[in-house]
């Protein structure tokens, strides 16, 4: 495979005058199924193999991807990529340059305790059945439940014109579990995701009964929940919500491409934008976590990147192009969903570092506020407005967790809200997730419990 890629790169450089060329190949198999209640909708298996070629010609990018190893098709693809880059370069004011990185030759192998490919599909389905059965049996008001399962295994190859050559195994195991309840015209919905880059042992760490019960319990609890009051309120956020808050409110703004596009963090490097309790990382090195990998799709080693230290913006997430613009080191955040698309800057595992509070201490000073425990979706905007949807939340009255509230969300301005983080817990948890930025990336986020003295709560009451 590497020979095929090397040949493409040589063609790009020698025949078409590319200043830089890289080729990625992917050979993956996926196993998936969807379980709706106690019915398997379809058991699926797939093969995805293909090649991506990216070149810099006269300072402009050309990219082509094909699901083929046929030499004539690859030759046409590299020719397309180079000629399109050349055409685009004619209007370029600021030619693209890349930060230099070490040349790497490596072979990274996955070492799962339980290789997903060695578990029979029947057994995977059996495990999923237990989840759904538990969920349906939890309460007669649970009317439907679902489980989407996916595992992905394979190898990716990366070769560039600077001499880097990497062969890297890919392994992901993931499931999304949902339940909905209905009674007297009230409908509720609950979801959870689990995921790992370690192996199928994920299902040993997270027993099926427990998964089903957790999702069903949340759907039932919401039946009697009331919408929260809209407006400003103090909140205590659980690790699951903190993760998404950190991801949406800070993470996206710390992606160097978005920072360059006018995002607020680019112009605040070295400045204090939050309470001294706030320290954030984006870490690609946490073994087994859903956002972990050794090398990104530009062949750069994945780092543990400090984004905010004690409230001060300390770094951004870079690819080679943005690192050059900022005079920074590439951080290993360039990721492509698959061979079909170009790598772009993506988060890995983004989290807030724990401090010293217990949950009780965080709650005790809240007279009238909310405890938001579990999220459903979230979205960032370049102007620093974040939104995080909440699927599980409770009122806090005089420091005590009280009645459940439903379908809330929180919003605010990142720069104002980070200053309002006035308590950070000593616990710590991470959850897997998926992030959409044109492409889907498998990510992970989390942190400790935190308290925020004021956010806008979007409630209809």
């Amino acid at each position: 495979m590497k020979d095929v890629l090397q040949k493409i790169i040589d063609t790009a450089v020698v025949k078409f005058g590319a200043k830089y060329a890289e080729a990625r190949a992917q050979q993956l198999t996926k196993t998936m199924f969807i379980l709706k209640e106690e019915r398997v909708e379809a058991a699926k298996q797939g093969i995805e193999s293909g090649v991506a070629i990216r070149v810099l010609v006269n300072g402009a990018w050309g990219f082509a991807s094909v699901g083929s190893l046929d030499s004539a098709i690859l030759e046409a693809a590299v020719s397309d990529a180079c000629s399109m880059a050349k055409m685009a370069s004619e209007r370029l004011k600021n030619p693209i340059k890349l930060a230099s990185v070490p040349v790497v030759e490596d072979h990274v192998t996955a070492k799962p305790k339980k290789n997903p490919n060695s578990i029979a599909m029947e057994d995977k389905i059996k495990t999923a059945f237990v989840v759904n059965k538990t969920s349906l049996g939890f309460d007669s008001r649970i009317k439907s439940c679902g489980l989407d399962y996916m595992d992905l295994m394979g190898t990716s190859f990366f070769v560039n014109s600077e001499g880097t050559s990497i062969e890297q195994d890919k392994l992901y195991v993931w499931a999304r579990i949902t339940a909905s309840a209905q009674t007297d015209g009230t409908f509720t919905f609950s979801r959870d995701e689990i995921g790992s880059t370690s192996g199928y042992e994920l299902f040993d760490d997270q027993p099926s009964e427990e998964l089903g019960r957790k999702v069903a319990k949340r759907a039932i609890e919401q039946i009697n929940a009331k919408p929260p009051k809209g407006g400003k309120a103090p909140v205590v956020l659980g690790p699951n919500v903190v993760g998404v808050f950190v991801h949406e409110a800070v993470g996206h703004l710390a992606e160097a491409d978005l920072a360059l596009s006018g995002g607020l963090l680019g112009s605040n490097l070295g400045k204090k934008i939050g309470s001294s309790l706030v320290t954030l990382y984006d870490d690609g090195t946490l073994k087994g976590s859903f956002g972990a990998f050794k090398y990104d799709d530009e062949g750069v080693a994945s780092h543990k990147t400090l984004l905010i230290k004690d409230g001060i913006v300390s770094g951004l997430m870079h690819n080679r192009e943005t690192a050059q613009k900022f005079g920074a080191q590439p951080t290993g955040n360039a990721r492509a969903e698959d061979f079909r698309v170009e790598p772009i800057i993506r988060m890995r595992c983004t989290y807030m570092a724990p401090q010293d509070h217990t949950l009780e201490e965080l709650l005790e000073d809240v007279k009238d506020g909310y405890y938001f425990k579990s999220f459903r979706g979230g979205q960032a905007s370049l102007d620093g407005t974040f939104q995080v949807g909440i699927q599980e939340g409770y009122e806090i009255k005089n420091g005590e967790i009280q009645a459940p509230v439903r379908n809330a969300s929180i919003s605010g301005s990142t720069l104002e809200t980070l200053h309002k983080v006035d308590g950070v817990g000593k616990d710590f948890a991470l959850d897997p997730g998926r992030c959409g930025k044109g492409q889907t990336a498998f990510i992970c986020d989390g942190g400790p419990h935190i308290r925020v003295s004021e956010v806008i709560v979007g409630g209809s009451a």
Partner: protein
């Protein structure tokens, strides 16, 4: 450039896959073949610096063994062996699965209608130079609006998609289509304050685009979002533009009309056929044959003819969206709404062109109806809505305050919370200015009693 694959080749590939699955022991089989080609010119930080050409082809095969469904796909279709391997894999998946007592077979062959304006050979012949010119026109137009506006990203793309479906009931069909689109995201800066990203686009099945309009509008919107003011929490009239409607409906209303969700008690529309579920001002059709529609095609992902299905007529719920499986469960016919994620997935129910019929008011007349209220362009976080109950709690960013029928100023930090099924009943006017966005074809809509949360 790599040539597109011929009709006969794609159909026979699908038919061969079906034959090999039957030979391997499937009681029924269906193959879906996809050939997609796209060329994109990308803008990054205000300049054209990225180009790509993506060729994606593949085959998905669905087989049934003793009422258990298995599926496999491959993106290597040049080699007969990989296609046969996919059939083998689909069978092994079906055998690993469990019988579904509700399975009542793949669709039967039916005659197809013709579609209008879905394929334009000019788009297939567009060169990257042509697309770069279009991109430059869009950027130039944006640049002429105001110094404070910055185009940040966007681009121009052309695409060609062909697909073929064959099954063991004799379906053997081919369709192809084209699309060309341009889009621009811009923001405006004023001292240290930055506006939210403002986005415009144009998309067409024929080679008819207005890149200058896109560039100008994106930049104009961004400039008009400068200097936002906080607002008080209130209940108000709100105009929702197509961007906001698309976001809000995609995760709520468009889910509630799927027969599968209704059958699984995940839709408040269950048992409501024939009843008033929305304001009399609202009529919605799912129109899979809408002329030049972005989701118009001869047949759906199962080879069933696409059609026009009334969903809500003058506020009364009329029908749901069906694929073959859910239709047979209800003793009905499929509405041709089985959609596929290319060759990578089994069919699932989705709207085609979800058409909210236009009313009679021009945008100016809609604004004139609002003494005090808001106009909302983009929503943040619509995907966090509750897909079952229809409750949403989102950020309107940017949105503008309306006073005495005129746009007064942009607003900061406004949230919108409510329930989509109540919103449907609170629609007081529907505009005439329809346009398509994803699967939604809609005009602006004016709703009352919307909860707007401010400072």
């Amino acid at each position: 450039m790599v040539a597109v694959l011929e009709k006969n080749f794609l159909i026979s590939l699908a038919e061969d896959a079906v034959k090999s699955a039957l030979k391997l022991g499937a009681s029924e089989a269906e193959a879906y073949v996809y050939d997609g080609q796209a060329t994109n010119i990308g803008i990054d930080l205000g300049q054209i610096s990225k180009t790509n050409r993506i060729i994606d082809r593949g085959l998905g095969i669905r087989v049934i063994v003793d009422k258990a469904v298995g599926f496999a796909y491959t993106n290597i279709i040049s080699n007969p062996q990989t296609v046969e391997n996919a059939a083998t894999q689909a069978l092994s998946a079906a055998k690993a699965s469990r019988p579904d007592p509700d399975w009542q077979g793949l669709p039967q062959k039916k005659s197809y209608s013709t579609t209008e304006g879905t394929f334009d050979p000019k788009i297939v012949d567009l060169s990257p130079e042509d697309l770069i010119k279009v991109t430059a026109n869009m950027l130039d137009a944006a640049g002429e609006v105001d110094k404070s506006a910055f185009p940040i990203e966007g681009g121009v793309g052309s695409g060609y998609v062909a697909n073929a479906v064959a099954n063991s009931n004799g379906i053997a069909a081919f369709d192809r289509g084209t699309i060309v689109e341009c889009s621009l995201a811009a923001l405006a800066k004023d001292g240290t304050s930055v506006t939210p990203v403002c986005f415009e686009f144009d998309a067409s099945r024929n080679y008819r685009l207005d890149p200058s309009w896109v560039g100008r509008e994106a930049a104009k919107l961004a400039v008009s979002a400068l200097k936002p003011k906080p607002v008080e929490t209130q209940t108000a009239k709100v105009i929702l533009t197509q961007f906001a409607l698309q976001d809000l409906f995609a995760y709520t209303l468009m889910v509630a009309v799927k027969a599968d969700c209704v059958q699984r008690s995940q839709s408040p529309f269950k048992g409501k056929i024939g009843t008033q579920v929305a304001s009399e001002n609202l009529s919605i059709y799912d129109d899979g044959l809408y002329p030049k529609g972005l989701r118009t095609a001869v047949f759906d992902g199962e080879g069933v003819p696409q059609q026009k299905t009334p969903l809500i007529e003058k506020g009364v719920l009329h029908s749901f969206l069906y694929d073959t499986y859910s239709a047979r469960k209800d003793g009905r016919e499929s509405t041709g709404n089985a959609s596929r994620a290319e060759y990578l997935s089994t069919p699932s129910i989705n709207p085609s062109n979800f058409h909210i019929l236009p009313g009679s008011k021009t945008p100016q007349q809609l604004l004139a109806e609002v003494e005090e209220g808001f106009i909302i362009y983009y929503l943040q976080g619509a995907h966090s809505s509750n897909p079952v109950s229809g409750e949403f709690s989102v950020v309107a960013n940017p949105c503008w305050k309306i006073k005495n029928g005129e746009i007064a100023h942009p607003c900061r930090g406004v949230m919108l919370a409510g329930n989509i099924f109540e919103l449907l009943k609170n629609i007081i006017e529907v505009g005439v200015n329809e346009r398509q966005m994803g699967s939604l074809i809609a005009p602006w809509i004016l709703a009352e009693d919307m909860r707007v949360i401010g400072k």
